[in-house]
C-alpha cells in the first residue's frame, strides 16, 4: 500500500458505521454546479446509448425466434437477413463504443476540473 496522504480513503473503506456522517467535501462537490453539469453530460450520452443498444440487440432474438421465415429471406446469394442482422450487431457495438470514447473525453475534461478545484485525493 505504501502510499501516503490517503487517510481519508482508508477511513472511508474501513468505516463500520456508515450512518455516522457529517457534512463533508463530498456533499459540497455533489451539490456543485460543475458536478451537476458532469452528470447531465454523462446521462445525455449514456442513457440513450444504453437504451438503443439493448433494443437493437434484443430485436435479434425476438425476430429470429418469432419470425424465422421472414429472417430466412435470402439477400445476397445464400446469405440471409438473419445472418446479416447478426453480423451488423458487431459493427453497431463497435460504433457505440467508439462514440462513447469520443463523448467520454468531455467527461474527463469536466472531471479534471472538479478534481483540480477540490484538491488531489479528496483533501
Amino acid at each position: 500500500m505504501g502510499n501516503t496522504g490517503r487517510d481519508l480513503e482508508v477511513k472511508a473503506v474501513q468505516s463500520q458505521e456508515p450512518e455516522q456522517d457529517t457534512q463533508s467535501i463530498w456533499d459540497r462537490i455533489a451539490e456543485s454546479q460543475e458536478f451537476q453539469d458532469l452528470m447531465a453530460t454523462k446521462k445525455m450520452f449514456i442513457v440513450p446509448a444504453f437504451v438503443f443498444f439493448v433494443l437493437y440487440y434484443f430485436a435479434l432474438p425476438v425476430l429470429v425466434g418469432y419470425a424465422p421465415h421472414f429472417m430466412s429471406t435470402k439477400v445476397i446469394g445464400q446469405v440471409n437477413l438473419a445472418y446479416l442482422f447478426a453480423l451488423s450487431q458487431f459493427f453497431v457495438a463497435w460504433l457505440i463504443a467508439w462514440l462513447y470514447v469520443k463523448a467520454a473525453s468531455d467527461f474527463d475534461r469536466l472531471s479534471k476540473d472538479i478534481i483540480e478545484k477540490n484538491g488531489k485525493g479528496g483533501k
Partner: protein, 534 residues
C-alpha cells in the same frame, strides 16, 4: 500425438517463466491483487479478452455452430454486445470507487460486513461453477489428445496444480501475462484457421455460403438430411426456444458486467480512463474473434461435417478436427494446445478472483472488521486459499468425471452474475435510497433463484430413455418444472425485486452523505486508488 504433448509443455514452460518473473514483483497487497495497478490499457484489454474467451467459447461455440448452425452464431453476438454494458455502466465507476473486488463498491455506503459476506459468497459461487466447467473440459480434452499417455484424473490434477502455482507465486501480474500470451495465441490460431477455411473455398464467399446452405449429415433417426445451416431454428425450436434465446441474451448482456474475474481486471490499470480504453481493446479482440467463429463453426460443418465430428470426440472437438482436416497433425496439435492454454489461463483468472474475494472481503473485512492483524496477512490468506480453491475444483472435477454434462455450469455462472451481482452493483451506484438489507436480499434472491431455476430446468431434469446411462443421465428423472435452460428472464427481475423489496422493508436510515461520496468518487475518480511502484 507427441507433438501435442511437446506443445503443451512449451506453453507450460513459458507460463512458469512468467510466473517466476512476476513472483519477484508481487510483494504487497496492491502488487499481488492488482498488479500494482500498472497494467497498460491495451495489455488489460487483451487480458480481459483472454479471460472471456474461455474453452467454452473456443471449443464450445465452434461445436454449437458446427452442429446447430446459425443459432450457435447467436451466442457469438451476445458475447460481444454484452461488453457495452461493461463499457457504459460498470468499468469506470468500479475502477474509481473500488480497491480489489466488486464488494468494495458496495461496502462504501452500506454496512460492510453483511454486504461483503454475501458478495463474497456470490463471487465464490460464480467462480467455482465456472471453474469446474473448465476443469472437466480440460480433463476431457487432454484425455482425447493424449489418451494413451495421460488419464482424465491426471490431467485435472495437472491443470489444478498449475493454476495454483500461477496464483500463489505470481499473483495478478502472472495471471494477467499468462492471459495475454494465451489470448495472442488464440487470436493467431483462429485467424490462421479462418484463412485456411477461406483458402479451402478458393477465397470465394459465394462458394463458402453455398456450402453452408447445403450441409449433409445423418439426423437422430439415422436418415441422411441436407440442411441450410444459415437458417435460424436448428437449436431454439418452438414453443420455448425463442424465449430461451431471449433469456440467454439477458444473462449475457447483464451477466458479463457481473462476472468477478472480469471485474477484478479493471483494478489492474492506473485509472478509469485506462479502464475504458481496455474495454475498447477487449471489444475489438472479442468482436473479431466471434466474427471468425463464422469460419470456425461453419467451416467445421462444411469441411469436416457433423457426422465425422460425432465419431471423433464430439462437438467440442470441432475446431481441432477442422485444423486437422485443413493442415494435418501439426496444426491439429497447435490448435489443441491453444485450447489447453485457454483453459489453464481462464482457471487461473477465476482462481485469483475467488481468492481475492475470500481474503479481502471475507477474511479481512468480515471476520476481522477491516483490519489486517499483521502486514501481509491479506496476501498470505489469499495464497493459502488458492490451495483450497484448487483442491475443491480438482476434487469436484474428478468426482463428476469426463462425461459429465457441465455446459449448464457456465450458463449458471452467467445467470448468478446477472441476477445477484449486477442488480446490487447498479442499485448501489445509482439508487439513493438503496440500503444494506436491499443488497443482502438482492444478492440472496438472485443467487437462490438462479440455482433453483437451473435445478428444475431441462439441463438437470428430464426423462431419459433407458439406453442413456451413467453421467450422461439427467440428475432428476422427471419432466422439467421450468421449461428454459437459461433462467435469466425470471431470475434477473427477481434479483432486482429482491433488492427493491429488501430496501423498502428495512428501516435502516440511508446515508445521503455516503451516497454523495460514492457518486462523486465513482463519477470523477477523485480519491481513487493510485498506481503503485513495483
Amino acid at each position: 500425438m507427441n507433438i501435442s504433448l511437446v506443445m503443451f509443455l512449451v506453453f507450460i514452460a513459458i507460463t512458469l517463466g512468467i510466473t517466476y518473473w512476476a513472483s519477484r514483483r508481487s510483494a504487497g497487497a496492491s502488487a499481488y491483487f492488482a498488479a500494482s495497478r500498472q497494467i497498460k490499457g491495451w495489455q488489460n484489454g487483451i487480458a480481459v479478452a483472454g479471460d472471456y474467451m474461455s474453452a467454452a467459447s473456443f471449443l464450445g461455440i465452434a461445436g454449437i455452430i458446427a452442429f446447430q448452425g446459425y443459432d450457435g452464431f447467436l451466442f457469438s453476438v451476445g458475447w460481444l454486445v454484452a461488453y457495452l454494458t461493461v463499457l457504459l455502466v460498470i468499468a469506470e465507476p468500479l475502477r474509481n470507487a473500488g480497491k480489489y473486488t466488486m464488494a468494495d463498491v458496495l461496502a462504501y455506503r452500506l454496512k460492510p460486513r453483511p454486504v461483503r459476506a454475501m458478495a463474497s459468497l456470490s463471487t465464490l459461487t460464480v467462480s467455482t461453477f465456472y471453474m469446474i466447467a473448465q476443469m472437466v473440459g480440460a480433463g476431457a480434452l487432454v484425455k482425447l489428445l493424449l489418451g494413451s499417455m495421460v488419464t482424465y484424473n491426471q490431467a485435472v490434477i495437472a491443470v489444478g496444480i498449475l493454476m495454483i502455482v500461477y496464483v500463489v507465486f505470481g499473483g495478478m501480474l502472472a495471471t494477467t501475462w499468462v492471459q495475454i500470451v494465451k489470448a495472442v495465441l488464440l487470436m493467431a490460431g483462429t485467424l490462421l484457421l479462418s484463412v485456411l477455411v477461406m483458402a479451402h473455398f478458393h477465397f470465394s464467399f459465394g462458394e463458402f455460403f453455398n456450402a453452408i446452405a447445403n450441409v449433409t449429415y445423418h439426423d437422430a433417426k439415422g436418415q441422411s438430411v441436407v440442411k441450410d445451416f444459415l437458417q435460424p431454428g436448428l437449436r431454439y425450436k418452438p414453443p420455448y426456444g425463442p424465449l430461451d434465446l431471449i433469456s440467454l441474451g439477458l444473462a449475457l448482456i447483464f451477466g458479463t458486467a457481473g462476472l468477478p474475474h472480469i471485474l477484478v481486471r479493471f483494478y489492474t490499470v492506473p485509472d478509469a480512463k485506462t479502464a475504458r480504453h481496455s474495454v475498447v481493446w477487449a471489444m475489438v479482440l472479442i468482436g473479431s474473434f466471434y466474427i471468425m467463429t463464422t469460419f470456425l463453426g461453419f467451416g467445421a460443418a462444411t469441411i469436416v461435417g457433423p457426422d465425422f465430428i460425432k465419431g471423433h470426440g464430439g462437438t467440442n472437438m470441432s475446431a481441432p478436427l477442422l485444423a486437422q482436416a485443413l493442415a494435418g497433425n501439426i496444426f491439429f496439435a497447435f490448435i489443441s494446445s491453444i485450447a489447453f492454454a485457454t483453459i489453464l489461463a481462464v482457471v487461473a483468472g477465476l482462481t485469483i478472483s475467488a481468492t481475492t474475494s475470500f481474503s479481502h472481503d471475507f477474511w479481512t473485512n468480515v471476520i476481522h472488521n477491516g483490519v489486517e492483524r499483521k502486514a501481509g496477512e491479506e496476501v498470505l490468506v489469499a495464497r493459502i486459499s488458492a490451495f483450497g480453491v484448487g483442491a475443491v475444483a480438482i476434487g469436484i472435477a474428478i468426482l463428476l468425471g469426463p462425461t459429465a454434462n457441465v455446459a449448464f455450469l457456465v450458463a449458471l455462472a452467467f445467470a448468478v452474475a446477472a441476477s445477484a451481482n449486477l442488480p446490487v452493483i447498479v442499485c448501489s451506484i445509482f439508487w439513493r435510497r438503496f440500503n444494506t438489507a436491499g443488497a443482502v436480499t438482492g444478492l440472496a434472491v438472485g443467487l437462490l433463484a438462479s440455482i433453483g431455476l437451473i435445478l428444475v430446468s431441462p439441463s438437470l431434469m428430464a426423462v431419459d430413455p433407458p439406453t442413456v446411462t451413467g453421467a450422461a443421465r439427467h440428475l432428476i428423472q422427471a419432466k422439467a418444472w421450468f421449461p428454459l435452460e437459461n433462467p435469466g428472464i425470471l431470475s434477473i427481475p427477481l434479483g432486482f425485486i429482491g433488492a427493491f423489496v429488501g430496501t423498502m422493508l428495512s428501516h435502516e436510515p440511508t446515508s445521503q452523505h455516503k451516497f454523495n461520496e460514492l457518486l462523486v468518487r465513482s463519477n470523477t475518480g477523485l480519491g481513487a486508488e493510485k498506481a503503485g511502484a513495483h
